[in-house]
């Protein structure tokens, strides 16, 4: 169990700095926003919470691509499937490793990037809370998508297509929390919904992922 986690983390660090890259992508999306919608501070501060959430989601998404693909290509998944570790556990661990290398850095970086987009002062706490609660769901759902597309060459874009609609509820509640937080209105209901989604996906989705992966390996 921990062996797999440690290996995944180590690979993320070595393979071209996987740790920093989701973060860098997040940074760049946020930086590109003013270039595309124009530099007005008032406009930016209105869209800031939403854009930060969307940026986090997209960077998560981009890094899903190779979550299982490399392990599939080099035969690691075949061996894992014959190992004593249940596949459900292996996939949960991989999702956890994905979260630690992408979700967590995003959560930590979001307040800094909030400054770039003039996020209102009261919004920071809510933004961080919503990201911290929501990104684990993104990793788990993403693992399901990765398991679906394992073995499909050029699966990257297909993966995005499959995963994005599944991300919608998380995004809606997460962005809603951040937005309400920034406006100073009450955000507990969406926060609870978000927590519910995250818990439910963590508890249930690995089973779907494992069953999908077993069939995909054939």
């Amino acid at each position: 169990m921990t062996a797999l986690l440690i290996r995944d983390l180590r690979l993320a660090m070595r393979a071209g700095g996987g740790f920093g890259l989701a973060l860098a992508f997040f940074l760049i999306v946020v930086v590109l926003i003013p270039f595309s919608v124009g530099p007005e501070a008032s406009l930016l501060s209105v869209i800031a919470p939403g854009v930060l959430w969307l940026g986090a989601l997209l960077s998560c998404l981009l890094s899903l691509d190779r979550l299982l693909a490399i392990d599939f290509e080099d035969g690691t998944l075949d061996v894992l499937a014959t190992a004593p570790l249940p596949l459900e556990a292996a996939l949960s661990i991989k999702a956890l490793a994905h979260w630690l290398t992408t979700g967590l850095p995003l959560v930590l970086a979001a307040p800094v990037l909030g400054v770039l987009l003039n996020l209102p002062g009261q919004g920071y706490l809510w933004l961080v809370a919503s990201l911290a609660l929501g990104t684990p769901a993104l990793s788990v759902i993403g693992t399901f998508g990765a398991a679906l597309t394992v073995g499909i060459k050029r699966g990257g874009l297909l993966l995005s297509l499959l995963v994005l609609p599944l991300y919608i509820p998380t995004l809606i509640f997460g962005a809603e929390v951040a937005r309400r937080g920034a406006q100073g209105t009450d955000a507990t209901t969406p926060l609870l919904m978000l927590a519910g989604i995250t818990l439910a996906t963590i508890a249930l989705l690995p089973f779907a992922s494992a069953s999908v992966l077993r069939r995909g390996l054939r």
Partner: protein
Amino acid sequence: MELHVENLSLARGGVPVLTDVSFVLRSGQALILRGPNGSGKTTLLRTIAGLQPALRGQIIGAEDQIGYAGHADGLKAMLTVAENLTFWAEVFGQTDITAALDAYALHPLADRLAGTLSAGQKRRLGLARLLVTGRPLWVLDEPTVSLDTDAVGLFAAAVERHMAEGGAALMATHIDLGLTAADVLDITPFRAVSGTRAGASDEAFL
């Protein structure tokens, strides 16, 4: 440890490949599968390893017994040789990798990244992985590809030691493995004959 394969029929991509394969493999035995390209050796090995379903027939005694090494090696280019082995050892609940390093003379390479190994060195590492699984039944698909004569010798020695310790090995190959005592199973007679309704997975549509 005994592996019983009974009347196994296999398909690949909906095409029947082998029919009614039966054999028994016991502790201390090595069985070499032979057959021309495309005859279904890889399919058979993957099925026994539990990676794909059989059309019909039974495999008894394979559960949690198998160390599988296919065409790909399951190595990470960005981990060192020792790290790769340690990882697999831990996944299979083992701790010690020195025996594996010894068996394939990998000590001098232990701190090299696996991605910088030559084809044969990689293969040696892939085979060393079997020693850290602690599994009694090795299922190997063309294990000696890219190996030079010395390395083939190391492999043969490792297999013989494994058999002496009560293990067994099932291998597909086209070339000589240097094993002295091994049975050979030619799978050509089991090839699914075209025109039989031997067992396409799409049988429902025929």
